[in-house]
Symmetry: C3
Subunit: 434 residues, 3 copies
């Protein structure tokens, strides 16, 4: 269906985008999100939306917009022991502004560190209660001696907007495949600059050929962003989306992971499981009970979109998660490429997942079509077994994924078989209403 692509260049391209976006201090609102979306627009024609502070969205309200210019802590000797300019994780997300001198004891109440991972700066936020704070490696925290500390956070928390990006790539059908990723994390790489990078390259791939389905890609802040997006688009999404993927944690090279939809069994679940079992049989299948990203909203009762996650190392399940160690060394061109390939395979299968029906009763005479050995020995049937099995189960009720499951052959391996049989006139797609 598509021309072969240079895998290496895709992985490198995605890695370059991750690296370019890495220094920006993102949060669920603010200029970090805007700058991120602007950079992505250099690759794909995202439409951006601004939703005002105070807008109601289901049970939520769009919060104030947060922006930050600088933050640091000066120790009693006037040295910058904590410096936002060196790592934007140092500031508690959504910190209110502060500029004062405090004792070490008071400072400690505003510090966050990980004693069990003493070299890592943790990622901590306080979106919905106003606080100030700093995040710091526990090793550094332990060096702080008594005395007066100057704490400065030059931030603003005020009426503004929540920003998100959207790209709709029309196909011949109005039915849609949804790809959702988030752009609200500061300098972390697997979770979460890998998602926007892979989603961007998937958009390029989708746009590179005519598609059957319409593709909807959204680049949003996590949780509040998907809630806002759903509250504005719910009816349309429920009517049109046949499969969706939450694109997150797709950058390292240590694992493949799958998280199903709430009740499982959707087209997205089926295709992802089929492709992963084929291409990465060692993948780790999680339960929906282990969810933790925007499928929490997409799959919530009454929303019920068929959204799954195909990941590399899943959020919460790798030691660097939500710390400064989730950095550009953790992700790799190979890691990004692997996730891209699986998701692209899923999309390709979705495009092809018709219900097929044989065009004759009984087995067709493959021999006169050059598809069966004319000399019948005791092994001749084996050479055409997959063709025969596809014909046997293409009965007008099984879709291609069903056929794949019934005959125990990966769906990707069936695509050329289907082409051959359709070209020979032995198989035809059953009309469905899309």
């Amino acid at each position: 269906m598509t021309a072969p692509m240079d895998n290496r260049s895709e992985g490198l391209g995605m890695y370059d985008l991750v690296a370019q976006l890495f220094p920006i201090c993102r949060s669920i609102t603010g200029d970090g999100v805007r700058r991120t979306l602007e950079i992505i627009k250099a690759h794909i024609p995202l439409e951006t939306y601004e939703v005002p502070t105070g807008t109601k969205a289901f049970d939520w309200t769009v919060p104030k917009e947060w922006n930050i210019r600088d933050a640091y802590v000066l120790d009693p000797r006037g040295e910058k022991v904590i410096d936002f300019q060196r790592n934007n994780l140092h500031v508690l997300g959504y910190s209110t502004p502060v500029d004062k001198t405090v004792t070490l004891a008071e400072l400690q109440e505003h510090l966050h560190s990980l004693p069990e991972q003493s070299n890592a700066i943790p990622y901590v936020t306080s979106y919905y209660e106003e606080r100030w704070g700093f995040c710091v490696a526990d090793l550094v925290r332990n060096t702080l001696s008594d005395g007066e500390y100057r704490v400065v956070i030059d931030s603003e928390l005020q009426e503004g907007h929540l920003t998100y990006g959207e790209l709709v790539i029309p196909g011949s059908s109005s039915q849609e495949v949804l790809l959702s990723t988030y752009v609200c994390h500061p300098s972390m790489a697997n979770n979460e600059l890998s998602g926007p990078a892979v989603a961007t390259w998937l958009a390029k791939w989708i746009a590179g050929a005519p598609r059957r389905y319409t593709y909807r890609l959204v680049f949003i802040p996590e949780t509040i962003g998907s809630i806002v997006y759903l509250s504005r688009n719910l009816n349309h999404l429920k009517e049109h989306v046949i499969a969706g993927f939450n694109v997150t944690c797709v950058g390292d090279d240590r694992a493949y992971s799958f998280l199903p939809s709430r009740n499982g069994g959707t087209l997205a679940d089926r295709v992802a499981l089929n492709v992963l079992q084929d291409t990465h049989p060692e993948f780790k299948a999680y339960s929906f009970l282990e969810r933790g990203s925007d499928e929490r909203q997409y799959c919530s009762p009454g929303v019920d979109l068929p959204v799954v996650s195909v990941m590399r190392s899943k959020y919460g399940c790798y030691p660097e998660y939500h710390t400064s160690l989730d950095n550009l060394e953790l992700v790799s061109p190979q890691g990004l490429q692997g996730a891209f390939n699986v998701l692209r395979d899923c999309l390709e299968v979705i495009e092809r997942n018709d219900i097929y029906r044989t065009t004759c009763l009984g087995e067709p005479q493959l021999g006169r079509r050059g598809l069966y050995p004319t000399l019948s020995t005791r092994t001749s049937y084996n050479s055409v077994r997959t063709i025969m099995d596809v014909l046997a189960y293409a009965d007008g009720s099984n879709d291609l994924l069903d056929v794949s499951e019934r005959i125990g052959a990966p769906v990707l391996s069936l695509l050329p078989v289907i082409d051959t049989l359709v070209d020979s006139g032995l198989l035809s797609g059953v009309e469905t209403e899309d």
Copy 2:
């Protein structure tokens, strides 16, 4: 829902009732049943019914009423080697009267003993064919020497009645929960004075607070009693009973056991399995093919009531079963209390087993309700996982037992979560037609 109760006192109370009832010689009819029900009436307001001999009930006919005053065997030296006054199991249940002298050989034809359990008097009956006989420990039987024996059974078998008790405790709904137990066994404790005792204490507990469902408790002779009861109440029961429990073998402290309904999957099956898996995961699950009590009638084709058995050591599955060794030492306050607790838990869950639905789309903002940490760290989600999982599966189609099974959390543990969420306005019960 209910005030905490002193566990020890319940167990002791039930044990005292078992001990009080133990000496009475019960059978499927007769004054033993009447006296038993009278004693129980001191605890709960049972209504008693008398059904005349000869009454047709489905395929059966109420038999003659049997009463017995005394029975013994005098050996050649005139010594009472078998004495009904010492243990009422010594007489074959429903023995016709006899008073004659027989040879040892003839006596042997009327003796029943257990060579493999030589110190136990077996429990044997002959309800539907007129016979006389004695049951005796094999050890004793083996000491009998040749000579003339006087055999006396001072019993009556004549037109009379079958007696049973019933208590209906009305709830706000006309839908009913059925508890059935039997009062036809002579001096045996686990099978079967534990059942009437636990059923009596359950009735006290039910009556101790307003209930949603109506509770129907029946104290009947086994088999003929349930058949008679069904024949008189079938339409009402089929229309109203949503769950039922055959309360039997609930007195020892060695095991928990479960016997399902005929096809499984009823509300009674689901709640009993959920509670047992939670509170006594080592419980033994039997098949309906291993049935042997009144579920044989309640679950028969065309009757099809949703009746299960939650037991301690199941009838037929412990060595003392149907012998004189099933005595007051076999059962204990702790044993009775354990069964009472499980059955009470089941009733409590049935009262609460609504279908719930979230009141908003997407996840609610728990933070502003004090249900979610305002500081978001990498572990903050874990603290609210159960709340989130309940919200995710309370989708208006799953009842609480479904939710429990889907999220892998015992239903008992969900009751306070449901309270919190309903109080917060985040969850509401879906109206059903009860």
Copy 3:
């Protein structure tokens, strides 16, 4: 239902028929088929049909008719190194006539042998492309030295007919059980003279007593024969056939095998599995993906007949398959008898597989019918457990196979129980529309 038969004589009778048919050179058309059917007609009143060359059947066309008188190869010294008269497998099936002298090199291009099984003559055909060739043991092939070879095949390939046999044994119902076997293989015994022999003896057994169902037996060439037969009878078969068996590979004594219908779960699947699990629990269950005989046609999409195969050693799964080693030593009277017994048991169960319903509510009082011990001890229930279990699950929705599966008792063992209960008036068959 039927008089006991002398097992030994059936097996011997079938073996004799196999031996009588063995020398005939059969193919998918020609006089070999006709002579085979004539011999079978001495046992059962087959109707034979002739379908002209060129007749369309679904995607296929009836090929030219092939007949052969002789074939041989003379080596440079004039010795017959390959001789059709000694084994008809020596000639490639459907070989065109040839009579010429060739070099060893040219001869080799027309020889087929099995290097890995060097003493076996392979069975090879070329039905749909015109060729000539010889099949030979690899041991012999390796002895051929350079020189001129005379090759003679005295065959004819011309307009003619495809021949098949059919026998319909009417029962009281117009619903049918289909038995299909094939008569197109030259001198091979398990695959495939065992099939026609066992089918012939099944026909005798069926005709030996009044039957509920109508039985349709077809003796056809494989693949093209079933396609032709289906194309002429499809509507009738789809309307009437409730179960079918492809009778193939039923002659050796090494294994029992089962191959299901395309989606499984039909009456034929259920009865065959139940009987095999009971009588030959070591049987090998294959998947439909391992099919290779006429179920390929009978179970094809749109045809969808409920056809399974109950076999001894399955085609393709024993070393002698499709070689001269599949001979009269491979099959045995015992082997044929075993397959016959299983298939006869299946037919007997199908005849009896009603939906039954108890005639009373609750358990019936078995005691007054002499079906329950009047003396009730702690083991008395065990003696009637199967009766009680049948009564419990004969609820007007389960058929006898369902009951068997639910209660874990082989369906064959339930037939006398059903008789007893029906005779006692405790069970009645539910009217169905056959």
